[in-house]
Structure formats: C-alpha cells, structure tokens
C-alpha cells in the first residue's frame, strides 16, 4: 500500500538524502495505541473494583504478551535484536547526544529501548498483581495491593519520561517519531545517517 509512495525506501540505513523509511508494522502500532488507551481507561475511567477494569487489564496483558512474541517473530525493526537491552549502549548514546550527534536509529535508540523494556515489565507486574488480587489466595493481602499501586505509579513516571524522551528526540533528530508510530514511516532528514 505504502510501497508506491514517492521517495519511500525500505530500511537500508546509512544513506544521506532526505528519505522515508518504513519502520513500524501495523501490529506494533496498533498494540502501542491500544495499550495507551487501556492504561488511560483503567487509570481514569473504570471502577478499580469492577469487571471492566479486569477485562481491560487482561486485554493489556494480552497485547503486551503479543508484542513480546512479536519481538522474536516480527519484522526486523520490531525484533529485540534491533533494540537489545544494553545499559552500556544507552549510556554511550546519552554521551553521543550530549556531544551533538544527530544520527537516527530506525528501531528504538538504546535509551528508548531500555524504556520500552521497562514499560513492558511494569505493565506485566501491574497486570499480574491485579489478577492476584482477585484470587482467594491473595484477596485483601496488603503487599499485593501495594505492589499493584507502586507499579502503577512507576508506570506513570515512566510514561512521563517516555513522552519527554520522544519529544526531545524529535527535536534532536528532526524525525517525527509520533507520526511514525501512527503511519509506520520515519522521515529521515537530509544529511542524517541511520543505524
């Protein structure tokens, strides 16, 4: 569908003229925005003790698990191998940014990668502790509820940092990242190389 767009190159990397590169497949995009919707619903709208809260929670868990499976089986940029969790690389990347480097990662940059793994892990902790609260064994057990709330608060902190990181990286590289998460296509500005 998009492949006959003028100027669209599939991921090759390393070229220097302004170009469009398809990076996020539909599954990655649908999962991202659906998880956001689910988190919003359960944070703001649903009654925490109601059935809908549970249903939405299960849906989020399902989406995260699907995304993790896709991390092994999916297209190139969606795979864990394209954005391995690597704190040292993240630190190095932070250094590069401070030195004014403007190179673009087609998948997540090493800082964004850590944030993605952090968010997935946090979502899983929230969902599992929530499911536990509804079992006879853990019903009314304080530490489970505290874990659920603590993980939720950590998710909120993470999302603020996540959105902040996206906005800053858009400014640094000139790549419209949010748009790319909607259309699937990153615009790589003139003279910028990709990794």
């Amino acid at each position: 569908m998009m492949s006959d767009m003028p100027g669209l190159n599939l991921a090759e990397g390393g070229r220097d003229s302004a170009r469009l590169v398809r990076v996020w497949d539909p599954l990655v995009r649908v999962i991202h925005w659906s998880v956001l919707l689910g988190v919003l619903l359960n944070a703001v709208i649903t009654d925490p003790e109601g059935d809908l809260h549970e249903i939405v929670g299960y849906a989020i868990l399902g989406l995260v698990v699907l995304r993790l499976v896709w991390g092994f089986l999916g297209v190139q940029t969606a795979r864990f191998t394209a954005f391995p969790p690597n704190p040292r690389a993240a630190l190095a990347h932070a250094g590069e940014i401070l030195r004014g480097d403007r190179s673009v990662h087609l998948s997540h940059n090493p800082l964004g990668a850590l944030m993605a793994y952090n968010i997935w892990a946090t979502l899983i902790v929230i969902c599992i502790s929530g499911i536990m609260m509804g079992t006879v064994r853990f019903f009314g057990v304080e530490w489970v509820e505290e874990l659920h709330e603590l993980a939720f608060n950590w998710l909120m902190v993470s999302v603020v940092l996540h959105v902040g990181g996206v906005v800053l990286d858009q400014r640094r590289t000139g790549v419209a990242l949010v748009k790319a998460m909607i259309t699937g296509i990153k615009n790589i500005p003139d003279g910028i190389s990709t990794k």
């Binding site: 003790e49 006879v136 019903f139 009314g140």
Partner: protein, 82 residues
C-alpha cells in the same frame, strides 16, 4: 422499601455470604470489634481499613471473597460486595 431490594441483589450476587451477613446486622463500631465479630462468624479477615468513613473488611469464607462495609456510627453492616 430499599432493603428487600438490596437484600435480593446481595442474594443474587453472593448467596453463601449474604446468608450470614445481611445488611443491618450488628458487627461493632471499631475495626477491632468488627474483626472479632467476623472471625467469630468463621470469616478469615484478610484486611480491615477505613474507607469513605466506613469500616471496610476484606473477608474470605469457603473459598468466597467479599468486602463488608460497616457504619461505625451504628456498628451495622451497610453493604456486602461479593
């Protein structure tokens, strides 16, 4: 007028618990009193806390879970959520 309706709703929602925890039943005016009353009735009291001016107890009995709300002014059960 409201009580038969609520009681009926509770019977549908949590038959086993509603049988021995009807609204209006007196359990006590403090958390401690409510805890011992529920324990005496055979409930495993998992947690007890104040919520919106009421005493809320998380109880389990025969594999069933419920939240019991007690009005501390009257000491009576105001609501049971299955």
């Amino acid at each position: 007028m409201k009580f038969p309706f609520i009681a009926a709703a509770l019977l549908v929602a949590a038959p086993a618990l509603a049988a021995d925890l009807a609204p209006d039943m007196e359990l006590g005016k403090t958390e401690d009193a409510v805890r011992s009353a529920l324990t005496a009735l055979g409930y495993d009291v998992r947690k007890i806390e104040e919520e919106d001016g009421e005493i809320e107890a998380y109880v389990v009995k025969d594999g069933e879970m419920a939240e019991v709300y007690v009005d501390p002014a009257t000491g009576k059960v105001s609501k049971v959520k299955g």
